[in-house]
């Protein structure tokens, strides 16, 4: 027996002992690749080829302190987004104080301000006395010309959360 033949014999002997392990490992590797390709296919199918790589939803980069309130998107049409939304904290003759994620916000109401209640998806006009502390309200309006106060056009009483 030549040295080469002996080497081949050793390899064959070793192979017989571990072929099932190798076969199992091969299947495992194939399944892994399949899972990766399938996942990429699902990702592209759901988001399209233009979708960027996914990212972890981190809390975000450094936020400037004392940043201004952002527009709220709660399903109203784009042109009619409320400028404030949250539970009513208190009210007086001049206006309402609403508790928002940025703290308490006071909004001045005028004789032109109208009040509504959401009823089955539509707004039904109500009297201002219908508002109670703790009620969820959405305030629609526009900033004053100096940008520092809010001219309220309408206040919508939101249905209680289920």
């Amino acid at each position: 027996m030549t040295e080469r033949e002996a080497g081949i014999g050793q390899i064959e002997s070793a192979w017989r002992g571990r072929r099932w392990w190798v076969l199992g490992g091969g299947i495992l590797l194939g399944l892994l690749v399949l899972a990766a390709v399938f996942s990429l296919g699902v990702y592209v199918g759901r988001r399209g080829w233009d979708a960027g790589a996914p990212s972890i939803a981190r809390p975000g980069p450094a936020q400037p302190p004392l940043n201004p309130p952002q527009p709220i998107d709660q399903g109203w049409p784009q042109q009619q987004q409320p400028v404030l939304m949250g539970p009513l904290h208190s009210q007086n003759r001049q206006g309402l104080t609403v508790r928002t994620s940025d703290g308490l916000r006071f909004v001045r109401v005028t004789e032109e301000t109208r009040f509504f209640r959401m009823e089955e998806g539509t707004e039904v006009e109500i009297d201002r006395q219908g508002l109670r502390p703790g009620d969820g309200v959405a305030v629609f309006g526009r900033p004053s010309p100096d940008g520092l106060s809010l001219l309220v056009e309408r206040v919508v009483l939101l249905p209680p959360k289920q």
Partner: protein, 659 residues
């Protein structure tokens, strides 16, 4: 057919290997030290807590991390820098040691010194691992333990397969290291089945050695004994969530360790899993590159073919980790995959070694014996150096936190500003340790009462009569560690006194607002009829006119603060935010009126035609080089710097810490 076998040459025993492992260590450590965070930071959600827990030998959040705590205590005693710096340093020193051990692992698996060195450095400079080697966190230290365990198992297997029956102490050492590694991250328990299978594959007759099995069980138990630390230190907990699962009962112990964070585990439904797998692949790509992924796949195949036992060991470890953390809901997910990345780097190195072997065999058959070194030199070396250069260029900037002094600069000024006997409120629990560091570690200002330090949530009745300061606003309390809402009433005025660094580059960290407020029932004098600034200006900035300013001093120590008053006349609606800078060094950003103007206009008086007065102190970064800088005020867009409008105030001379 002759198969290349990358492991025929033994290991260790070569001074050359020690020198190359040392080179991997020194090089990694050099990069880590150059980018090391100098102190407290918000780069990790738990980093500040871990610093304090190590220094005070307390009890960290779930799952407790006893071994990490003890090692951190040793480092905190070093006569170098601040305590926070020393615990950060531990990550660098032990992370570099993990890279050196990876050299040993690769040397054991392959015959290639060059490949072993490349793999060690390629891993050391990868994004996620590097990010953890420059801050106080458990992951770099944990990788040292994982690498030690794996290396011990591989050494044992090599000697046992070579017929060395006296090598079983290496198995006991490996199992002891495995038990100890649970104290740096409990997820290492997930590796137990893979190690168990490996032991059986290497030494199927181990069941005939009951003494060895008993010894292995004892070694593992010895490693786990560290967890007695938990009930011993349970009294030190300050976090409400952790106290709810206090490890003083069997049930509490389970909830604090294996049962911790149930809401995060297996948190995704089946239809969501494909996207999670894609997320994992993306994180892998960020760390090894697309070429690395392909080479790793090839490495898995080669490993299966040539070293089936090792394939099952590494694949078993890898699958368990990826399977578990793909379904883990946490925002800093990338760091949890570091052990899986580590395993992938090993197969990348293995694939590379096999490729080089194939190349050598091919050139040998071609009877061009002059080719191998030339080919290696011409093809492999530039490619490998390019891969390392790509890691450095891509990850240095992201992981360079050497200038992140914001947290310490801010709190040092806070504790300097607070009047005697005052109350300081802030977030409690795990996330409050930036503040707790000063009384607990530095023993600073014991006269200042910090309620969440003594009781999670605080006790409102204990605040009577004392001046109250806070670093958070009542309406902005979020997540764990919230104070009793009565301590931070939402209708109080939060008057900013001190603004820390913000708006600058932070490397995507978790920095929160660094603002010290005084709590007041009375509004500040925000709007005045006329301006009487010490330095009149009359400069218009897009909707605002800066009538002038007061600057209490024109000389400040780096790390100190500047007392500034700005007088603004409102002409229209300012677009953007106000910002301050010293030269090119951004200091902070804020909205006109420091967050109070809108409410002030509604409840007190509108600013129409009047002067808005902003009066506050600005923290000057301690890493600012001494010199004269122009103090600048600008109107900048909130999220971009393209539309900026700056005006220069006076010159400020910044001196070194010693004056």
């Amino acid at each position: 057919m002759k198969h290349p076998h990358p492991s025929r040459q033994g290991w260790p025993g070569y001074w050359g290997d020690l020198a190359l492992a040392g080179l991997a260590y020194i090089t990694s450590l050099g990069f880590y030290l150059a980018t090391l965070s100098p102190g407290l930071s918000y780069l990790s959600p738990d980093g500040n807590e871990l610093i304090v827990i190590c220094a005070t030998l307390g009890l960290a959040h779930s799952t407790g991390y006893p071994l990490y705590t003890w090692l951190g205590k040793l480092f905190s005693l070093l006569p170098l820098g601040t305590v926070a710096y020393r615990v950060n340093l531990m990550s660098a020193v032990l992370g570099a040691a993990a890279a050196a051990l990876l050299y040993g692992l690769m040397r054991l698996l392959t015959r290639h010194r060059g490949v072993a060195l490349f793999t060690a450095l390629f891993f050391a400079l990868s994004r996620a691992f590097w990010s953890q080697a420059v801050i106080a966190e458990v992951y770099a230290t944990n990788m040292l333990l994982v690498a030690s365990t794996l290396l011990s198992f591989l050494l044992w297997a090599q000697r046992r397969r070579a017929g060395d029956t006296r090598s079983d102490w290496l198995l006991l050492l490996a199992i002891l290291a495995l038990g100890l590694s649970v104290g740096t991250h409990m997820s290492n328990l997930g590796f137990v089945p893979a190690y168990g299978l490996f032991v059986l594959l290497v030494y199927p007759l181990i069941w005939r050695r009951p003494a060895l099995i008993l010894g292995a069980a004892l070694a593992f138990g010895l490693g786990l004994l560290q967890y007695l630390w938990l009930p011993l230190k349970a009294d030190n907990l300050t976090d409400a969530l952790m106290m709810r699962n206090s490890p003083t009962t069997w049930r509490g112990f389970y909830n604090y360790t294996l049962g911790a964070f149930p809401q995060m585990k297996f948190a995704f439904s089946l239809p969501e899993i494909p996207e999670r797998i894609v997320l994992y692949l993306e994180l892998l790509r960020q760390n090894v590159g697309l070429g690395g992924i392909v080479l790793g796949l090839y490495g898995w195949v080669e490993l299966l073919w040539r070293r089936t036992r090792h394939f099952y060991l590494l694949m078993g470890m890898y699958l368990v980790h990826v399977f578990f953390f793909v379904q883990y809901r946490v925002f800093d997910l990338d760091v949890f995959f570091i052990p899986a990345h580590f395993l992938y780097f090993i197969v990348i190195g293995y694939g590379l070694a096999c490729l080089l072997d194939h190349l050598r065999n091919w050139s040998g058959r071609a009877k061009r014996r002059w080719l191998p070194p030339a080919l290696k030199g011409l093809l492999a070396l530039p490619l490998l150096l390019g891969a390392l250069a790509s890691q450095i260029l891509g990850n240095y900037g992201v992981n360079d936190h050497s200038g992140d002094t914001a947290a310490e600069d801010f709190y040092e000024n806070v504790f300097a500003l607070l009047p005697p006997g005052s109350v300081l409120l802030g977030q409690g629990g795990v996330f409050g340790y930036d503040m707790f560091y000063y009384p607990l570690v530095l023993d600073l200002r014991p006269d200042v009462y910090i309620p969440p330090l003594e009781n999670p949530g605080g006790r409102p009745q204990e605040l009577q009569g004392a001046p109250i300061y806070t670093t958070i606003q009542g309406a902005k309390q979020r997540g764990p560690g919230q104070l009793d809402p009565r301590m931070l009433p939402q209708d109080a005025w939060y008057i900013p006194l001190l603004l820390g660094e913000s708006g600058g580059e932070t490397g995507g960290g978790l920095r929160k607002e660094l603002v010290l407020y005084r709590l007041s029932e009375e509004p500040p004098r925000l709007v005045r009829d006329e301006a009487r600034p010490l330095f009149p200006l009359g400069v218009e900035l897009d909707g605002l006119c800066l009538e002038g300013y007061d600057l209490a001093q024109d000389r400040v120590e780096a790390g100190g603060c500047l007392q500034l008053t700005l007088y603004w006349r409102v002409l229209g609606r300012p677009r953007g935010m106000l910002a301050t800078a010293l030269g090119e060094q951004a200091l902070e950003r804020h909205t006109l009126g420091l967050g109070n103007l809108e409410r002030y206009a509604q409840e007190v008086r509108p600013p129409d035609g009047r002067i808005v007065v902003e009066e506050y102190a600005l923290v000057v970064p301690s890493d600012l080089e001494p010199g004269a800088y122009p103090l600048r005020v600008g109107l900048v867009a909130p999220r971009q710097t393209a539309e900026e409008n700056w005006v220069e105030l006076g010159q400020v001379e910044v001196t070194g810490k010693d004056g």
